[in-house]
Amino acid sequence: MDAPQPTRVDVPASVEEVFHDYAPRIYNLAYRMLSNEADAEDVTQDVLLQLVRNLDTFRGESAFPTWLHRVTVNAALAHRRKRASHEQHRVYDPLDSFLEDGSHAAPVRNWFVQPERDALDRETRTLIDQAIAQLPEIYRDVYVLADVEGLPNADIADILGLSLSAVKSRLHRARLLMRNALAPHFEEVPA
């Protein structure tokens, strides 16, 4: 599949600039989608080479970050297909975990973390990244693009070729699974 063309970028003049400005962003997104360092490196190399090859064509107004996201996501999805690593088993639905009368199957406790006040320490970052890595792929992709990268749902639908309602549905389930995965680490201990 041909990569979509970017329409604007402050053209990097040197290897150092290409590397410094883009490699970490591409690598972090690819790593969170693929949960594997070697695969993330392959994708980063692929995207950086596309970037270098297209340097002369970068003209126009805006859309470069979108282009970069799109090309990185396409490369990561292609890499996943090549590895035939996509999951075939049934994906657990977090909305299935209620009693017959619709009430919670287990007590729900509050958390002691205060994201508005505390910067993420290394341990917390690791916990969150591990929880992301455990998400089923169909939920992980939308979660990373929405709640880590901060893309609008409409852009995610466009990039992943999904309807807007599918993005919202997957994102909601991803958030519930993330909440459930993080809860044992952050729950307040009952008095």
């Binding site: 290897v15 290409v18 590397f19 490699a23 970490p24 962003r25 690598y27 972090n28 997104l29 360092e37 490196e41 980063t44 190399q45 950086l48 080479l49 270098v52 090859r53 297209n54 340097l55 002369d56 909305l95 209620f98 009368d101 619709g102 009430s103 919670h104 007590p107 729900v108 406790r109 509050n110 958390w111 973390v113 994201p115 508005e116 910067a119 993420l120 917390t124 970052r125 969150i128 990244d129 992301i132 979660y143 709640d147 880590v148 990268e149 901060g150 919202k168 994102l171 909601h172 958030r175 519930l176 993330m178 909440r179 993080l182 809860a183 952050f186």
Partner: protein, 80 residues
């Protein structure tokens, strides 16, 4: 009265303010009497905030950075 499952099903639109007023009011009524759902709403939002604080520009593993740098240098010297 709305049940816990229905509250959780509607959470996405509830926290993004996209629910119809009538359903929003029913959920708010449920939250007044269900501490478990209050915790779910709060921790759902904390989960989103924590994820948005993850760094997107963390530095690459050193050996990976070196290999990529070499590849990009070669590609740029070759004219892309």
């Amino acid at each position: 009265m709305i049940c816990c499952r229905e509250v959780v099903e509607s959470l996405f639109d509830f926290v993004s303010g996209e629910l119809p007023l009538e359903l929003c009011q029913r959920i708010e009524g449920h939250l007044k009497v269900c501490s478990h759902c209050v915790c779910i709403v709060e921790t759902y939002q904390v989960t989103i905030k924590l994820s948005r604080q993850l760094p997107k520009n963390d530095s690459l593993p050193r050996s990976c950075a070196q290999r990529l740098r070499t590849t990009i240098e070669r590609a740029m010297k070759a004219g892309g």
